[in-house]
């Protein structure tokens, strides 16, 4: 156990070291850094602004008002924001394989996953988190808080990030075989985020089933949020689903870890 903790601790320290080195390298272009920060903040903000505009003509969407949707939107957005900041670079895996960068990483005494994810770390991706956090805070403002609801909200956000991290990693490993399929992964990661920005009651029951038992993004915000918002699930799911996000995160994480291991074993390097 102590060994495992030490290994994870070292990995974390190395992640920060590599990320900071990239931060320093990219800070050389300070002007473009701030331009990117501002533009990406504006772009991601427009996302929710569009939703809010819809609600000027509409009181409720599938039974949920705009404040409740802000809560769902924020939980999902925070999750993918954190996941994207920490491990988003994994979608460049195919390119790293093609250029031989992965070979170089495999010669260093740092876990491969840490190096892949910390590569070209860009702090500007934090803008997504800030934007989603602002929407989430506004959504939280209206909630009738109890200690257990607060605890569940924290659990929800943490697991949201964990599930998206698992999805990023799991689907990126496909690139060990194909070397080109960032689009497939995007369908599940960013796609999963877009879907869970809305109350899942807008979708047919079959879709919600797939989002629960297939790619379990329903646990990113929907099930725990129902409990926090004091809502009943229109699809009649059991109440304990609200507390199941850790199970979903564990399932996605395990699948991703197995896929990653298989990918590394399959890895064939480049020619020469």
């Amino acid at each position: 156990m102590a060994d495992v903790l030490r290994t994870w601790g070292r990995a974390g320290v190395d992640y920060v070291r590599i990320a900071r080195m990239w931060g320093r390298a990219l800070r050389t272009y300070r002007a473009s850094f701030w331009m990117l920060v501002v533009s990406s903040f504006v772009t991601s903000s427009l996302d929710f602004v569009a939703l809010a505009i819809v609600f000027t003509h509409l009181d409720r969407l599938a039974g949920f008002d705009v404040r409740e949707i802000a809560f769902l939107y924020g939980a999902s957005g925070l999750g993918i924001g954190v996941a994207d900041l920490l491990v988003g670079r994994v979608e460049r895996l195919g390119a790293m394989i093609r250029t031989g960068a992965l070979d170089a990483m495999l010669t260093r005494p740092v876990p491969l996953l840490v190096q892949v994810c910390a590569d070209e770390f860009a702090l500007r991706r934090i803008t997504r988190i800030v934007q989603a956090g602002a929407v989430f805070a506004w959504g939280c403002w209206w909630i009738d808080w109890t200690p257990s609801r607060a605890a569940l909200t924290v659990l929800m956000v943490v697991c949201s990030a964990a599930i998206f991290i698992g999805l990023f990693l799991g689907f990126a490993t496909v690139q060990f075989w194909t070397q080109e399929s960032a689009e497939v992964a995007n369908a599940f990661t960013y796609g999963g985020n877009t879907i869970t920005q809305y109350p899942l009651s807008v979708y047919p029951g079959e879709v919600v089933k797939a989002l629960t038992f297939g790619v379990p993004v329903a646990f990113v915000s929907w099930y725990p949020a129902l409990e926090v918002l004091g809502r009943r699930d229109p699809f009649g799911s059991p109440a304990w689903f609200a507390y199941a996000p850790p199970v979903a995160a564990l399932a996605v994480g395990t699948a991703a870890a197995l896929a990653w291991r298989a990918g590394v074993r399959h890895y064939r390097s480049t020619g020469s």
Partner: protein, 329 residues
């Protein structure tokens, strides 16, 4: 966690690399699989300098990549510095240095100096030792003016020097050099070889070298492993390689007065030129030239004389075409 000595019975404690029946297959969709390495076995002792030779596609790089933990063997047993390279890749990485001549192990977009600092830190080299080693390497490899330059802007020769610094920064006791001199000009090649010779003599590092350039091997290696079609066709020292490859020295004799043929004990005439003034004689690699020259000088007046050593290229080429394994030691 990292045993210092391999726990394999019958293998001496100073053995650094044990490869047994190593195999790596690359499956291909709809086409036959490529067997890059097939039933390759060898051991390397501490402090040995081993040259891995072989034609393109023989399996040299695949072998190095399995030894470093980059590629997972399909079958066979592999133990490097007492551990399985795949399962304990990071533990092994702390003890080895790698240089790929054809690509960098540095961060492409980071300045060389930053790259070296970061490597030193992820290798957990104590700060003052890191500073001393870094200074030494920057000095010896003449990297001072390049430290602020991103790796992608370095010339090939500069980049290889930078990569060598990276490979040595943490004081590895095992060094892999994969085609270190490929693409370098003659001056850079010579400089790199001199550096490596000094390094070998001073540090006692175990070194594995793959190369196309046989003069690298002649300059650095005592032992040679020739690989063809993924398997070892020769394992022994350079002198034994000449014997196995059927090497022969050639004695070229110019005579003052022409004779139709020249007789000498142990030598056979290969060619006669210039109406019998110049004679080409073949001698076995291990035979001495002195008695042959003495015999000729006793019978004829010699105008000029030269001995041509066999080209190792030819020797190895003969091994490749010779087919069957010729393992000697």
């Amino acid at each position: 966690m990292t045993p210092e000595t391999p726990a394999t019975p019958g293998i001496p404690g100073d053995t650094v690399i044990v490869a047994e029946h190593l195999r790596r297959v690359f499956p291909r969709r709809g086409r036959p699989d490529v067997v890059a390495v097939d039933d390759l076995s060898f051991t390397v002792r501490r402090g040995e300098v081993l040259g891995l030779l072989g034609p393109n596609g023989a399996g040299k790089s695949t072998t190095i990549k399995m030894l470093t933990g980059i590629l997972v063997p399909t079958a066979g047993r592999l133990e490097v510095a007492g551990v399985d390279p795949t399962r304990h890749r990071t533990a092994l990485a702390r003890r080895m240095g790698v240089l790929f001549g054809q690509r960098t192990t540095l961060w492409w977009d980071l300045p060389l100096g930053d790259s070296l600092d970061l490597l030193g830190r992820v290798h957990r080299v104590p700060p003052d030792r890191l500073r001393r080693t870094r200074e030494l390497l920057v000095d010896v490899l003449d990297l001072g003016p390049l430290l602020g330059t991103p790796v992608r802007q370095l010339s090939l020769g500069q980049r290889v020097r930078g990569d060598l610094a990276a490979a040595l920064l943490h004081g590895p006791d095992l060094l892999y050099l994969d085609e270190p001199t490929i693409g370098l000009d003659i001056t850079s090649k010579r400089r790199l070889r001199e550096l490596l010779t000094t390094l070998i003599a001073e540090s006692g590092v175990t070194l594995l070298l793959t190369t196309h350039d046989l003069s690298d091997v002649e300059a650095l290696c005592r032992r040679v492993l020739v690989i063809d079609h993924g398997t070892a066709i020769f394992d022994g020292d350079l002198a034994a390689l000449h014997v196995a490859g059927g090497s022969a020295r050639t004695l070229v004799v110019d005579l003052v007065a022409p004779v139709p043929s020249l007789e000498a004990p142990g030598a056979t005439t290969v060619r006669t030129e210039d109406d019998g003034r110049r004679h080409w004689l073949r001698l076995p690699q291990d035979a001495s030239t002195a008695p042959v020259i003495a015999a000729i000088a006793a019978a004829h007046e010699i105008a000029d004389l030269s001995v041509r050593e066999p080209e190792i290229e030819d020797v190895v080429a003969r091994l490749y075409s010779g087919g069957g394994p010729a393992v000697s030691d």
